[in-house]
Amino acid sequence: MNFFKKRLPLLLAFFTGWLAVILDYIPHQNGEALMTTITKGLIIIGAVTAFMGIYGLLGHHYLKMKRKNEGWAYSLLVWAGFFIMMLFGIYNNGEWILKPQAEVGGVSWIYEYIFNPCQATMFSMLAFFIASAAYRTFRAKSIEAGILLVAAIIVMIGQVPVGILISERLPDISQWLLDYPNLAVKRAIFFGIALGGVSTSLRIIFGIERAYLGGE
């Protein structure tokens, strides 16, 4: 039993890991076809397992409601939002769930008038937090901090019409900063990411990194 619980997952990770590496370097149509099939299989696995996450989220909020924890009424709203959207998703504009998704109907309405505005609002709120963080931290206490401050200001002003009013060359300088020094640093960081990614992948394939097994 110990073999199935501990060794089998490690062997599977080893086998599937090397299979992916080998297939990527085999320029043969059968290899490419197998790669496509496996990639599609991974998408299927991901889709089937997605429901487990929903179970976790809804279960968490169900417990909050059951125990009447502080703010349990908000958990009710999570359930309400989920079920209202799901009802429209299942109804599928009268086609029900075994027909392809309808392009119009409740789901697209909720997506357009609730989901999208909420998402855009959430992301746009970061503008305030970034601005307030910048106000607190952007102090040119050293040469490095000064360079960061100047680069940020040039890029910010260079991206808006008022930049041209200050100097016609400001948008060009802003773009140059993004295209050259910024790109150079990104490339150097990419090298680090690649080396880190490859070493972590090798640790997983060889069974040194086992956190995904639940820490055993």
Binding site: L10, A13, T16, G17, D24, L42, I43, I44, I45, G46, A47, V48, T49, A50, M52, I54, Y74, L77, V78, A80, G81, I84, M85, G89, W109, Y113, I114, F115, C118, A120, T121, M122, M125, L126, A127, I130, A134, E144, L148, A151, I153, V155, M156, Q159, S174, D179, N182, L183, A184, V185, F190, F191, I193, A194, V198, S201, L202, I204, I205, Y212
Partner: protein
């Protein structure tokens, strides 16, 4: 009754009073917010700025959610929590709907149905297995709900993480090393004999930044000075990335303000 008991009783009494006070406040906030939204929408409908219908109701809902979420900029409050929790519920259901219609229905149910309707052969068998096997592996994750066989879910994780790791190796080498090396080593002189400043900046930027991240050598002397230039490059990059991110977020903010004061309350023309 001991002094500690008396203290804990008085603490729990004050907690209960505070909770009931908070709940009263929450109801007041909801009442005032919804009253303002209803009155504003009634005025907009009455003046003809908003048309009654699915689109009009959608704009009213979007405005209410937008204001509710923006209320967090003052402080965490019941309106934000209400909008946020409802949004989480909707987003979760949307994920399920997209997963169902774009993968489970199309790639599993329809694909199996189409294969089933064809004459049986070894090709069809393997094509069916290519769908059934990953589905079964995916379903194994639900064994986590039964503690005695929850270890079976490790098979799902092992396949996903193992294959993902294997795929990451050539992808990382190709995208982050090989594809980045060539454009980092472009000729530093132009064909006319001048200096290619762009290529020069990129070349020195990459080298100096890599030197800064190379901790096997002590940052002293030439290495130290090179690393120092690397820090300057890093600061320029962080500043530029920060500025770019700020402007991207502000464009989203402008879009939301445009929605509130053009689509909902028509104060901005054009």
């Amino acid at each position: 009754m001991s002094a500690i008991d008396t203290d804990s009783n008085s603490n729990s009494n004050s907690d209960m009073n505070s909770n009931s006070h908070n709940k009263t406040n929450e109801w007041w906030i909801f009442a005032v917010f919804f009253s303002i939204i209803i009155i504003a929408n009634a005025i907009l409908l009455g003046s003809g700025s908003l048309k009654w219908g699915w689109s009009g109701v959608g704009i009213m809902m979007a405005a209410a959610f937008t204001i509710g979420l923006y209320s967090f900029l003052y402080q965490d409050n019941p309106l934000f929590k209400m909008a946020e929790h409802f949004y989480v519920g909707i987003a979760t259901a949307y994920l399920i709907i997209v997963t169902w219609y774009s993968v489970i229905l199309t790639d599993i149910i329809y694909a199996l149905r189409d294969l089933w309707s064809q004459p049986f052969s070894s090709t069809i068998f393997w094509q069916m297995m290519a769908i059934i096997l990953p589905t079964m592996i995916g379903l194994l994750v639900y064994t986590r709900l039964v503690p005695s066989i929850s270890w079976l879910s490790r098979i799902t994780f092992a396949v996903i993480i193992g294959f993902g790791s294997g795929l990451a190796i050539p992808n990382a080498i190709n995208a982050y090393i090989l594809e980045q090396l060539k454009p980092s080593m472009m000729p530093l002189w132009t064909s006319a004999g001048g200096i290619a400043w762009g290529a020069l900046v990129i070349f020195f930027g990459v080298i100096t930044t890599l030197v800064y991240f190379f901790f096997s050598l002590e940052h002293k002397g030439v290495i130290g000075k090179t690393a120092k230039i690397g820090i300057w490059f890093l600061m320029i990059s962080f500043g530029a990335s920060f500025g770019y991110t700020v402007m991207a977020r502000f464009s989203l903010l402008i879009e939301r303000i445009n929605f509130l004061f053009r689509d909902w309350i028509p104060l901005i023309n054009g």
